[in-house]
Amino acid sequence: MEAFMRRALELARHSSSQGEIPVACVFVHNGQALAEAWNMTNETKNATKHCEIVAIDEILKTHPPSILQECELYVTCEPCIMCASALEIIGIKKVYFGCYNERFGGNGSILSVHEGKYESVGGFFAEEAIKIFKDFYERGNPNAPPEKRHRPVAE
């Protein structure tokens, strides 16, 4: 379990170096990593391309949707309301996340979309996830237009 979260954090750091908001995830099926992804909202100029959505799209290219019901998700930041709902729609088994997302979080912070639907546990390596955010925002989000530069800490 620890290894998957460490891998997600490594991907988040990579995401940051690509000028993307540093959130990343690993979908795990039967103890094996099935897909990895990081946030791609800047590259695609599509605000819905959060890492969870990118990974789900990737998995569904080669697998039937039913496989997602056997997956666990490791993500560096609490899924936003959109992603938390997407995870409910696909029927995810369990979610492990790093830091809480007080602006958009859908697994307890703003809404509890997971309640009665799937198990979600937060706070794994939270300090490390927060540090990656801080480093990123100190440099500034290079792809946001200047007037929008004050982006929320997590998407």
């Binding site: 605000a47 569904l60 709902s85």
Partner: protein, 257 residues
């Protein structure tokens, strides 16, 4: 038509603690002028507050200085010693005052009970009055089925459609956003409207927040819809679009014309 009113129209007061100077009313004009220079309310985003309020005993004024956590005791004390030296009755107190402007008349009434507010009519047009635009929105709404959604640019009248697909996340709204053309001078879907017959689900409702839509029009409520069930529009998010539900009978009348 019904508007799902956002968080900012809530009548639950959100107050902030401020330092208040109480002085003799005769020194009011002079002190207010000086405070305007030294402690401009804009600087604290409190320019919706009126500077002065009559104190309960008629010959004194209460003047708001600024947020308690930003104005030091020394700065506040200094204000007392300005003027002609007759400061026996001058003092500093603290009070809860409205942190945000009043956007509605109802808010104004409640905010005013804490501290006098200057009220400016919100500059948003009542949506029902934009007839030409409404005609176009009805037209698009009519052309949609339950498995499609449209992104409409009210300036250029360009439309981008989305359809429901076979995969679990291929909802019409997600598909429309994926089909939306990328351009350098466009920040996501800023200034665009989303038009759909059925209320967005929570995933799509939040996708519209991330995409910075201007408005959403829908007709039929959904059992676990983003607004009617989840009340997404009332959540303290850093952005929210306007949500408008067109009642079916209004829709029919408009199309029979």
């Amino acid at each position: 038509m019904k508007e799902y009113l956002p968080y900012c129209t809530s009548t639950k007061p959100t107050n902030t603690l401020c330092k208040i100077l109480i002085i003799d009313a005769q020194k009011g004009t002079e002190t207010i002028k000086m405070m305007g220079k030294k402690f401009p309310l804009e600087q604290y985003s409190l320019n919706h507050l009126k500077r002065a309020k009559k104190h309960t005993c008629g010959h004194q004024l209460e003047l708001v200085i600024g947020p308690s956590n930003l104005i030091t005791d020394e700065e506040a004390e200094e204000l007392k010693t300005l003027g002609d030296g007759c400061n026996d009755c001058d003092r500093i107190i603290e009070k809860e005052v409205p942190q945000f402007p009043a956007y509605t008349r109802e808010q104004l009434k409640i905010w005013n009970s804490f501290w006098p507010i200057s009220y400016k009519e919100p500059s948003i047009l009542p949506i029902i009055q934009i007839k030409e635009e409404m005609k176009k929105i009805f037209e698009i709404m009519k052309s949609l089925d339950h498995d499609s959604a449209a992104i409409y640019n009210p300036k250029t009248e360009e439309i981008c459609y989305g359809k429901k697909g076979d995969l679990p996340l291929q909802h019409p709204i997600m598909d429309a956003i994926n089909n939306f053309p990328i351009s350098d001078n466009q920040y996501y879907c800023n200034d665009h409207y989303l038009i759909t017959k059925v209320e967005p689900c929570l995933m799509c409702g939040m996708a519209l927040v991330h995409s910075r839509f201007e408005r959403v029009y829908f007709m039929e409520k959904m059992e676990d819809g983003a607004y009617s069930y989840w009340r997404l529009h009332e959540k303290p998010l850093n952005y929210m679009y306007r949500v408008l539900r067109i009642k079916k009978n209004v829709f029919d009348e408009n199309n029979e014309e």
